[in-house]
């Protein structure tokens, strides 16, 4: 949640997390609502170790969950967080209130909360906020993705003790979220005790001479390898306790927390890389929760009395969708009828049933169903090979030379589909597509490559088609993926989708500050995208979690990671780990 990034995924059943219905409490405690009590631990399984717990430097999802939790409040906190009622409207966190915005939407004034202390006891001040933004734009700090969100930030000034004014280049509906929710605030006294950044004003860091300033350089070097990158000091409800490299990361409840305190004494993130081992460890009682079961585990290996006596399981949806991208620079994919036909050749419902054991819903658009921006009126194209064949014929792709492969103007319909090698799902999907397309007279070859190479190929438009996934946050701007300006210069419009009408709508939405009006634009835009089928939207995946039944107040959220351990608790009688018996 710290960053509203759409991340191109290695489609593996792995990297995804999220939620479905926030209204539906799950688990044993849903009936008799026990009173929240403090105590006990949770041992939560994570599959990979975070590389760092410095919110500016880390890029892995697990790091982000430990740093910011589901709603920007775990170890670190941001100035604003999402209102849990709709997950769209910002609400204050480290700020006293939402910012005052100037009429031209170019300046945002935040007032920070009084009386908040860092985990080491030092008071939290506006200087910490200023420091965080300064550090984020320092060229020698290794935070490329974060810095790229702040390219429109012209200035940050300290007005008085608790007030900060942010000046941006252009009006943009995401500005408040970028400033308030993207940035977890870091303590200045820990990361810049010498005050290296004090002498340099924000605009001077961004300007050209920022690169050559030796103080900034020195700061960057120290910051990148600061010891507290592995021992974070934040303001949140849980504070860092211990990190056993390769084994686990422990957080302890912050009893001095300024807001609503957590219940569990400790939260342990235990690293178990293998899915089978993780489920076995859960059953053996070595972890309390496995938030990401493999679909087959959810369907077949987590049932029976022995399991159900101790554990509960629940699916939850996350803001992610799987897709097939058709590069429109290739002759085959220029015609929208061809793209529609390709979508109709994919039996998405059956793929969901067989490969994901039902843990997904057919996707229809860029926006996930968990958000109000999602156009619920769009009907997914059906699986219909006959109609698909007609569409291909209409588009002129007919097998003229009778070799079994359709062709047009002497070009046979033969293309390569890229997939990431780390994704088991892709390994299963590609043969299905290949066979289905072959029956329709289309020759598809599969190629699985490393994710690094996969992205590079997509970004440079050196591909015919690709199987992938986008993962985003609930409030998001599709501009970067769909606008024709994003085709060149490392934009994410890999497929070179060009549509003047779509461009116009996306631009209009960017400066529409009224959420309802913006929603109208996006709904229209989704109809256009549905008609064009630049992607074949495959499905919105669901994750499935299994956890010990003693936990109460378990709910699943629409934002990643899909659960908020700050609010889970265990009734006194059911508590398992106490200060004395805990390992």
């Amino acid at each position: 949640m710290t960053r509203r990034i759409a991340v191109l995924f290695l489609i593996s059943a792995s990297l995804l997390l999220g939620c479905s219905r926030p209204d539906r409490p799950t688990g044993a405690g849903s009936g008799a609502a026990a009173r929240p009590t403090s105590g006990d631990w949770i041992i939560n399984r994570i599959d990979t170790e975070p590389e760092s717990l410095n919110p500016l430097i880390s890029t892995t999802t697990n790091a982000q969950y430990i740093q910011g939790g589901a709603n920007n409040s775990h170890v670190y906190e941001s100035m604003l967080q999402a209102e849990p009622a709709d997950w769209v409207t910002p609400r204050p966190l480290l700020a006293e209130s939402r910012p005052e915005v100037s009429a031209d939407h170019l300046t945002y004034t935040f007032t920070i909360r009084d009386g908040v202390t860092w985990h080491d006891g030092q008071p939290f001040t506006a200087a910490d906020v200023l420091f965080t933004f300064k550090a984020a734009v320092t060229p020698s700090v290794d935070d490329a993705p974060i810095r790229s969100y702040l390219t429109d930030l012209l200035n940050v000034e300290l007005l008085d003790g608790r007030k900060l004014r942010f000046t941006v280049r252009k009006p943009y509906f995401m500005n408040e979220i970028v400033l308030g929710q993207f940035m977890l605030i870091m303590p200045k006294h820990v990361f810049d005790p010498q005050g290296l950044l004090d002498g340099v004003k924000f605009p001077n860091i961004v300007s050209a001479d920022g690169k050559n300033n030796p103080k900034l350089k020195q700061f960057g070097e120290q910051f990148n390898k600061h010891p507290n990158n592995r021992a974070p000091i934040g303001t949140g409800p849980y504070k860092f306790d211990r990190w056993d490299t390769g084994k686990e990361i422990l957080l302890a409840r912050n009893d001095q927390y300024w807001g609503k305190k957590g219940y569990l004494d400790k939260i342990v993130y235990r690293i178990i890389s293998d899915g089978t081992a993780a489920l076995t460890a859960l059953k053996a009682g070595e972890v309390d929760m496995n938030p990401r079961l493999l679909p087959i585990q959810y369907a077949q290996q987590t049932s029976g009395a022995a399991f159900e006596n101790q554990f509960a399981k629940s699916p939850y949806t996350i803001p992610t969708y799987y897709l097939l991208a058709w590069n429109e620079e290739r002759p085959f994919f220029k015609d929208k009828r061809v793209r529609q036909a390709l979508t109709m050749l994919v039996d998405r419902q059956q793929i969901i049933e067989t490969l994901r054991f039902g843990l997904a819903k057919i996707a229809t658009s860029h926006f996930n169903p968990g958000t109000t921006d999602h156009n619920t009126g769009i009907q997914a194209l059906p699986y219909d090979p006959k109609r698909a064949a007609e569409l291909l014929d209409e588009a002129g792709w007919v097998d003229h030379n009778e070799d079994g492969i359709r062709d047009k103007d002497g070009v046979p319909f033969r293309f390569e589909m890229l997939g990431s090698s780390s994704s088991t799902f892709t390994g299963q999907l590609l043969p299905i597509l290949k066979e289905e397309f072959r029956k329709a007279g289309i020759d598809m070859t599969e190629r699985r490559i490393e994710f690094t190479v996969f992205i590079a190929s997509m970004r440079d438009h050196r591909f015919d088609a690709g199987a992938s996934a986008w993962s985003a946050d609930l409030v998001q701007d599709p501009y970067q993926i769909w606008h024709s300006n994003s085709i060149a210069n490392r934009g994410s419009n890999y497929i070179s989708f060009r549509n003047a009408e779509s461009d116009r709508m996306l631009e209009q939405a960017r400066t529409e500050f009224d959420h309802e009006k913006r929603k109208q634009i996006y709904w229209k835009w989704q109809e256009l995208i549905h008609e064009e089928q630049p992607y074949t939207f495959l499905f919105y995946p669901q994750e499935a979690a299994a956890y010990h039944k003693r936990f109460q107040n378990v709910s699943w959220l629409p934002a990643r990671p899909g659960y908020d351990l700050n609010i889970w608790f265990v009734p006194k009688v059911a508590q398992r780990y106490t200060a004395t018996n805990a390992q």
């Binding site: 089978t276 493999l294 087959i296 077949q300 290996q301 039996d347 059956q350 793929i351 049933e353 067989t354 490969l355 097998d399 030379n401 009778e402 070799d403 079994g404 390569e416 990431s420 090698s421 780390s422 994704s423 088991t424 892709t426 390994g427 299963q428 590609l430 043969p431 299905i432 290949k434 066979e435 289905e436 072959r438 029956k439 329709a440 007279g441 070859t445 599969e446 190629r447 699985r448 490559i449 490393e450 190479v453």
Partner: protein, 371 residues
């Protein structure tokens, strides 16, 4: 050349009368009779029943691989339709060789559906024993245990395991065979030269061996896969060119040991050329560890392919291979035993028969065992 060989053997023949140590040289060279060395080896080999069984299994496996299309296919072998006889499997080859074309009505059709829809009483059809092609995907039938429909069950996307096993033998046998041939050949030559000549040759060859031994194979594979299309051929070549140092070192070790043995000294004294000593006299005596390396190499190449599939860098997912069946088995554990048992048995059969064959060949080639 031939003449020289004959004369030399005559000389040795006399020598052995006094010096038993020269027996190997006698044996390794054409005997007094007109029977050539390889004929002797062949005769010896045929005496070894177990080895012959190994050879037969290897031949059968290769036959299976070559005739895979006729054993497992969703196209009929023969079909009588409207009074006309068709050979769809053969036709496939013809189209592939561009000798023929598909009729519009038979293009990309499912024969089973076609037959169900169009066949009259007078028509008949003969399918191969396994009537699924390796990429016949039936999502509704995924993860089925062995049954009369699917003799060896189905995998996680409903492909017939029997068919994939039969077709997979192509990839797996050729991975083993080609990759190992490449590296045994390179390894033998370099190792022999280094071990026999020593000195500067050894120094250069050893550095080459060292460099190759330390080049990270996995990185090489990733790089190759990134640049070249994913194909079994590239994997074979990479396995082939990265594994020769082990064979080279084994051979070199044996040569170091052998070159000071009496028979080599004797052969040299008798004026045999280096080439002849290396390849005719010493090499057959150093093959034992190389044979082991090769038999295990074949198994290990098949398994490397499976680990690469597991990591996503193997053959393209629709290409059937024993390794890819095994790696898909892992995701289904603890169910899906048939996805491990059958390819596992196939690998076992291959490894064991290669090994029996290898040991038989070695024994046959070993002059001391002659009776």
């Amino acid at each position: 050349m031939k003449k020289e060989l004959g004369r030399e053997s005559q000389l040795v023949d006399v020598g052995t009368l006094e010096a038993p140590a020269l027996a190997p040289i006698l044996a390794a060279s054409p005997g007094a009779s007109s029977e050539s060395y390889w004929e002797v080896v062949g005769r010896q080999f045929r005496k070894n029943k177990v080895a012959v069984v190994g050879l037969i299994i290897v031949i059968l496996l290769f036959a299976l691989a070559m005739s895979a299309d006729f054993i497992a296919n969703d196209k009929p072998l023969v079909m009588n339709y409207h009074g006309q006889v068709y050979f769809p499997v053969l036709k496939d080859y013809a189209v592939w060789l561009r000798l023929s074309r598909w009729q519009q009505s038979f293009q990309n059709i499912s024969y089973k559906e076609f037959i169900a829809a169009n066949f009259k009483e007078s028509d008949w059809v003969w399918f191969p024993p396994v009537h699924y092609s390796p990429n016949d995907i039936n999502l509704k039938d995924a993860i089925q245990p062995p049954s009369t429909q699917h003799f060896l069950g189905t995998d996680e996307i409903g492909r017939d395991v029997a068919s994939r096993l039969v077709h997979g033998s192509r990839v797996s046998l050729s991975v083993g065979f080609v990759a190992v041939s490449i590296y045994v050949l390179i390894g033998l030559i370099i190792g022999a030269l280094a071990g026999y000549y020593g000195g500067i040759v050894d120094i250069v060859a050893s550095r080459l061996i060292e460099i190759m031994l330390t080049i990270p194979t996995f990185f090489l594979i990733i790089t190759v896969v990134a640049f070249l299309p994913q194909s079994i051929f590239n994997i074979m070549v990479v396995i082939g060119i990265t594994n020769w140092p082990t064979v080279a070192r084994l051979t070199r070790g044996e040569f170091l040991k052998a070159k000071s043995l009496e028979y080599v000294v004797a052969a040299r004294a008798l004026g045999a050329t280096d080439f002849r000593i290396i390849f005719r006299h010493v090499l057959p005596n150093t093959l034992a560890p190389v044979f082991v390396a090769a038999t295990f190499g074949i198994a290990s190449a098949i398994l490397i392919e499976s680990t690469l599939s597991f990591l996503g860098f193997g053959v393209p997912p629709s290409t059937a291979s024993w390794g890819s069946i095994l790696s898909s088995a892992r995701q289904l554990l603890p169910s899906g035993w048939w996805l491990t048992a059958f390819p596992g048995f196939a690998i076992f059969l291959t490894v064991t028969s290669y090994n029996l064959l290898g040991e038989g060949l070695r024994d046959a080639a070993d002059p001391r065992l002659k009776t």
